[in-house]
């Protein structure tokens, strides 16, 4: 029978994805970029929509929420998974509302007046069955997928508006978004890039070789020299792992130092981040914000005599407060950090902030 086979097939795929997440996040940096994770998550959610058994929007949302909780628990630092799940939930809500006939705008605006007068918005339980809902939702998810495919190109297209010739640009570590951003600008303009190597993983080396192969003048510096060379830098362009709800960043470690040095020299700090990295989390949980990897990266086991008497830390991420950031460049254009909260309300529904 096709039903049970499809279901087992689906659960197999979900399990495979979960173990991939668990494996991919542990160790020396992500084995795959965030864009691929986002795409895979969305594809998996589309498959769930298509193959799982559900009768109403509420059921579907329950299923997705359940799977989503498992996925985010598998790798809490990979926030794009959670972001995609919330996007899909928002899509389902929208399609449901459209099927019911009520306009989208009234649903979204939660003014104080509405909260006091109606009170009925929260009683919406999505129980009505619509035949065309499945097809609509899958179509909307396909649109989301196409949007995801084009994010890097969209960001790279804006490069020429921000880089003039003979500039010195500094970046840290390796970000595929920034790499394509700079390569796109290098087709028309000549500039110089300084890459901080970002110990202990030294992802900056790979970035530098890739940029220099595209013909860009690149220099690799050690992390310790960031402040020393900052006075000659015109712009700092970085990528990030997550954009937080207050406009701050959770980026690779060393970025906070870079941001402080840029602020000291009044150098603009530009963050290239596609919209799927925007996460409704706030940076207030001290314990859950940071992620650590094996201290072997920092102090290898060859230093055995002192290892047992010493605490060694190897954090992976850094928090950068929004005051240090000048501009966000995303696939829908450029924004100031103070605008991020508005974008969030467009992408996610407030009830989905907690999965």
């Amino acid at each position: 029978m096709p039903g049970p086979d499809k279901e087992t097939d689906l659960t197999e795929r979900i399990e495979a994805f979960l173990s991939d997440l668990k494996r991919g996040g542990s160790g020396t940096g992500p084995l795959r970029g965030s864009a691929e994770t986002a795409r895979e998550t969305t594809a998996l959610l589309r498959r769930i929509t298509a193959q799982a058994r559900w009768s109403s929007a509420g059921d579907l949302m329950e299923i997705i929420r359940k799977e989503g909780r498992r996925m985010t628990a598998a790798q809490p630092s990979e926030t794009t998974v959670g972001n995609m799940i919330r996007r899909v939930l928002k899509i389902i809500r929208e399609e449901y509302a459209r099927s019911r006939g009520s306009s989208e705008e009234t649903d979204q605006q939660e003014s104080l007046h509405k909260l006091l007068t109606s009170g009925g918005l929260s009683e919406e339980n999505f129980r009505q069955h619509f035949a065309a809902l499945k097809a609509n939702v899958i179509e909307a998810i396909n649109e989301l997928l196409t949007e995801l495919e084009g994010t890097t190109d969209n960001i790279a297209m804006q490069a020429l508006e921000h880089i003039h010739s003979n500039e010195v640009i500094m970046t840290i570590g390796r970000s595929r978004t920034v790499e394509s951003f700079l390569k796109d600008a290098a087709r028309k303009r000549k500039f110089h890039v300084i890459v901080a190597e970002c110990a202990p993983f030294c992802q900056g080396h790979k970035m530098a070789t890739s940029l220099s192969e595209a013909g860009i003048e690149t220099t690799v510096i050690a992390d310790a020299a960031i402040f020393a060379v900052m006075s000659r830098v015109n712009k700092v362009i970085i990528g990030t792992q997550t954009v937080l709800a207050n406009g701050g960043l959770r980026a690779v470690n060393g970025t906070h130092t870079l941001a402080l040095a840029a602020k000291h020299h009044s150098t603009p700090l530009i963050v290239c981040a596609p919209m799927f990295k925007l996460s409704p989390q706030f940076p207030n949980e001290e314990d859950t914000f940071h992620k650590f990897v094996s201290p072997h990266e920092v102090l290898p086991f060859t230093e055995g005599e002192i290892l047992s008497k010493v605490n060694v830390h190897c954090p992976v991420f850094d928090y950068v407060p929004p005051e240090l950031i000048t501009l966000f460049i995303s696939n829908i254009g450029g924004h100031a950090p103070s605008y991020i909260y508005r974008l969030m309300s467009e992408l996610y529904h407030p009830e989905d902030h907690e999965l």
């Binding site: 690799v220 050690a222 020299a225 402080l260």
Partner: protein, 546 residues
């Protein structure tokens, strides 16, 4: 060049022959004419001097390789008359026995020789007065520093690497810096170390050497010019075996003690002048191995002053023991006792329950922490380290051996760990006269982040590292280390292995950086605790004392 020599020659020959025919003594007119000729031939006179000195060299020592090699480089710099003069200083010493050897020499050559000798003597008097530092002057005419206040200094050679004339001058200077060994059959010159790899354009004015090509490979064994203790020291510097400003200064002083012990004054020479001349090639050699640090520069100044202050009637043994005592006292006072004094003042600043952050391996800061631990202060230390030198591991070992509880992170994690920290202790390589702290690269970054988190930053520095230079950024005067040190192999892959083949890729390995004084809260010296801006006051007080 040959043409102008010929045109100069016959004219002079006529004048001299006329003088001969009219009588032995030159009349006033003849003298005036000669003076005019001298003025006209001022440019060609330099070439003649070179030719004359080379000829005298050729006749005395059968080394033909040196002279034709130095002839072409002298051509483009002949217009710079005053600067070419110091290079002739060592020559007259070797030229004095020359006239006795040569019976038949043309009158023109003898006249040129006489003129060269006069110029050289004049220059040696000037040169002795203006003996400051160890670098040759580039083509900037300056008054001797003893006449002015030491404001206008000679620009050191090691920040003029992008000026090819300066490089040629240095090459010539190294060739000429030979200790006059009268019996030496071969002349060994101090080799010029060549730069390695592609230099980032912002730093093309600095040297960049490779650790795999030490200078000693270009020296012959055994080296007759350079004392073996100095050769060993140079090798230790260039390979990084002796590192850290205190260690380098102490090693230098010990090596000089050895040199003084093995020194014997040659006949007809004064110890005070000859020993200083003997030290010059050693210092150039060490500079080629690794650029001198500010502390080493101050130590060398002190030694040279002590040597030149030795009275001429002092016997050799007495003078040598006096110098050895001076050096011992310098090390004792300026380094050991200063460390004790600084430790005493710093311990007042360490309270129980403190979490202290240190960066890299500073011998002084380690000493302070160990002393504080002996005095039963309860604190823990966070050691921050950075690639590629990873000096923090050495500091970690020393502290853990004493039993101090430590944490270890890399510099990129400093903003994660700083909220726990209560104080930051930093060491310094030099303190500049405008209040900037020159230290290992990364220090300014730590000070910046500490300031952002409102954590006090204390710099510990002995007064002998205070320097009269001023600097506002880390570019104009720095040291570039071997760029290959940045290459790392992770999981079997070396990303930057072939960086030399990629034309647009450069690696930058800086050694020092400068920290602005607004990041530093306090400087602890052996004279007490001062703010960063009081450095020129201390320098002035020290100068007045001396």
């Amino acid at each position: 060049m040959a043409d102008s020599g010929e045109t100069g020659g016959p004219v002079k020959k006529d004048g001299i022959q006329q003088a001969k025919t009219e009588g032995k003594e030159l009349t006033k007119e003849e003298k005036q004419r000669l003076r005019k000729e001298k003025k006209q031939q001022k440019k060609s006179k330099e070439k003649k001097d070179e030719k004359a000195s080379q000829e005298s060299e050729k006749e005395k020592k059968p080394v033909s390789s040196a002279s034709p090699a130095s002839q072409p480089p002298t051509q483009p710099i002949t217009p710079k008359a005053p600067s070419a003069v110091p290079t002739l200083v060592p020559v007259p010493a070797s030229e004095t026995p020359a006239p006795a050897d040569k019976p038949a020499k043309s009158k023109a050559e003898m006249k040129a020789e006489r003129r060269a000798r006069q110029e050289a003597e004049r220059a040696s008097k000037q040169g002795k007065k203006g003996e400051v530092g160890q670098q040759a002057a580039p083509g900037k005419p300056k008054a001797p520093p003893s006449e002015l206040q030491p404001v206008v200094k000679r620009l050191p050679e090691h920040v003029q690497v992008d000026n090819p004339e300066v490089l040629k001058k240095l090459a010539k200077k190294l060739e000429r810096q030979q200790t006059p060994e009268y019996n030496a059959a071969t002349k060994v010159k101090i080799p010029l170390r060549s730069d390695y790899g592609y230099k980032v354009s912002l730093f093309s004015h600095l040297h960049q050497y490779s650790r795999k090509a030490p200078l000693t490979q270009q020296l012959s064994i055994p080296s007759t010019v350079i004392h073996p203790a100095i050769v060993r020291l140079g090798l230790q510097y260039s390979q990084g075996i002796v590192a850290g400003s205190n260690a380098r200064s102490v090693a230098l002083l010990h090596a000089f003690k050895q040199v003084i012990r093995d020194y014997t004054t040659p006949p007809n020479e004064e110890l005070s002048r000859d020993l200083v001349n003997k030290l010059k090639p050693y210092i150039s050699f060490l500079n080629q191995c690794r650029p001198l640090s500010a502390s080493m520069g101050n130590a060398i100044k002190y030694i040279k002053k002590e040597i030149s202050n030795i009275p001429s009637q002092c016997k050799e043994e007495e003078a040598k023991s006096k110098l050895l005592n001076c050096i011992d006292r310098y090390i004792d006072e300026k380094i050991n006792l200063a460390a004790k004094a600084i430790a005493k003042s710093s311990i007042e600043k360490i309270s129980d329950g403190d979490v202290i952050l240190v960066y890299g391996c500073s011998s002084l800061v380690n000493h302070i922490l160990c002393e504080a631990f002996e005095k039963n202060r309860k604190f823990r230390v966070i050691v921050v380290d950075s690639r590629p030198r990873l000096e923090g591991r050495e500091a970690l070992r020393r502290l853990v051996q004493r039993g101090i509880s430590c944490t270890y992170v890399l510099i990129s994690a400093v903003s994660y760990i700083l909220p726990e920290v209560s104080k930051v202790f930093l060491g310094a390589h030099a303190l500049l006269a405008n209040g900037y702290v020159m230290s290992r690269v990364g220090t300014s970054q730590i000070a910046l982040v500490a300031k952002a988190f409102n954590v006090p930053v204390l710099v510990c520095c002995e007064t002998y590292k205070f320097c009269e230079r001023v600097q506002t950024d880390s570019f104009v005067s720095n040291e570039l280390d071997d760029p290959d040190d940045l290459i790392v192999t992770r999981k079997g892959k070396t990303q930057l292995e072939h960086w030399q083949e990629v034309p647009s890729l450069g690696l930058l390995n800086l050694v020092y950086d400068v920290t602005p004084p607004d990041f530093v809260d306090l400087v602890i010296t052996d004279l007490g605790m001062i703010p960063c801006t009081s450095v020129p006051v201390v320098l002035r007080v020290k100068n007045v004392d001396q």
